[in-house]
Amino acid sequence: MAVKTLVEAIREGMRQEMENDDRVFILGEDVGAKGGVFGATEGLHAQFGDDRVMDSPLAESCIVGVCIGAALYGLRPIAEIQFQDFILPAVDQIISEAAKMRYRSNNDWGVPLVIRAPFGGGVHGALYHSQSFEAMFCSVPGLKVVVPSNPYDAKGMLISALRDPDPVLFFEHKKGYRSLKGDVPDESYTVPISTANVVQEGRDLTIFTYGIMVSQCQEVAAAVQQERSVSIEIVDLRSLRPLDRDTIVASARKTGKVLIVQEANLAVSISSEVSAIISESCFEYLDAPVKRLGGPEIPAMPFSPPLEHFYLVTPEKIRTAIEELVAY
């Protein structure tokens, strides 16, 4: 057990599963000698060679489509998409093909494929290196969508994903790669990929969130709880498709006040679905309107620092939202 960063935990998860299962290989842009633009595959090419850590041509549909084919033949590919922003050329392969393979073949075929991609902003990545596209995949039956909020979950959920018989989108917050740190066992282990995690129990208010926002909400909640007597529960959704409906409903019923926090813009998003689930199942338990906090309805996060800061969900915005809800 040692303290590791998010990107180290992900790398360790890949390395151990590649040692454990020779069907696992990686295909993506710059994953070889360079070790990926964020270093997620650093050292893996040296250890496993050209056949298992393959630099792909610059073509995302190709990366995913080829991985689907290899998975159909029995391998366990990891497709790395350099930035989640560049997953769009692969959307047809993901939604038309990977997501529907088992269903359309009536269980004759399956696609055990993990697609990893860094997402999110706050790193001066501008319009095309900061986006959060998870919502569009969370409406798609046949896909699983996972966003780890800490290194422990990241390693364990990645190994689970690699053993899953169906396609899993594994989205990693790029700002968290080095800023998120935590204890990670040295040996291989799994964390289930379809459950939410109550990271902090509370009585008065639940925050549902995921990814890098989890630790940010924890910090703000700790500060607020220091100042005033309010007990805040925080639920790390962590699996965005399927959502863990039971945990969501139980927590909302318990506290009666709900704040949903995400970095992405709100319209037709995870926050919409969590709110709708709560509406359906917690009507008689709610003490306040379900509140949502996320990015503004603009196409993406701009480059210039004042604009980027304007976009972000900051601790101040989270605090204000909590206080409004408490006061309701």
């Binding site: 549909s61 190709c62 489509g65 392969q93 359309r104 004759d108």
Partner: protein
Amino acid sequence: MSDTKTEAHRKGVQGTVAPEVLRQIYVTAVRSRVLDERIWVLNRQGRAPFWISGMGHEVFQSAVGAAVDPSRDWVVPYYRDLAMTLAFGMSPKDHFLSALAKADDPNSGGRQMPAHFGSHAHNIVSTGSPVATQMLHATGVALAMKLRHTDALSVTSLGEGSTSGGDFHEALNFAATHKLPVLFLVENNGYAISVPLDKQMPTSHVSDRALAYGIPGVSVDGGDAVACYEAARTAVERARKGEGPTLIEGMVARLTSHSSDDDERRYRPADEIETVHQSDCLVRLERYLLLQGVLTEDDLKSIRDAAVKEIDVDMEAAEQAPLPEPETALRYVYAEEA
């Protein structure tokens, strides 16, 4: 541009093909034709809501099918590959079950439209409707075959119209870069639904594109079984030796409207609709087999009779089979626990 070069590519390759292979090609093509015609009848009777036909493409598919080894090779077909699926071991019954949307349809359990093929047992990868995506799946299958050190290969096919999509290019580029064992088949029938070749692409042969990827590209007359078979054999040998992919374009004819939902008279010249049947690949193959003395008139008749009989029996069986239960629609979104 490189006219001489591509002309050379286009020429049907000459060679001698063993009589039993030619017979096999013919049997597959006839079974496909009889089956295809029968499903059209079901469609016109209102019993099969949709059909999309392989008529006119059968000889090309049957010849390629005879050149590969369905026991180890894989195919990722497209919707006109009825004959190819028969070459890989599917039965007419399988296709009737699908046309009638029955629960036991091995392609999809009645979930997909007919002619959306797939059977793990027969090394036929499940295919959907979006065109050209399968190019990349076949490439990935071939990559896996190479990484696992097999000597197997994958075959995949699409229409000439579908080569305009990005996945066609991405697949050829990847397969050629990694010298993967794939046969890329283009079944060029001159139309993508109503869109004729000259609005689809700037040259008249998709095989010209092989030059872009430094791989062999040949165009063969889809009514010339020998040329089709020889081109496929050459490509198979190349693939098994680890020398990489080949692009084979079969110049074929679409003998029907695009599908049972289409009426080609809206856009296809009447005289062309008329004349296209005069070069029916199956008729040409029969003429060739007789001329070469490979088969007699009696042989042809008994092969066709056997096909009709098989298809009668299979249709009957498929008609008896049950439709799926409604709630089964919820199954197999994800793998189910054992």
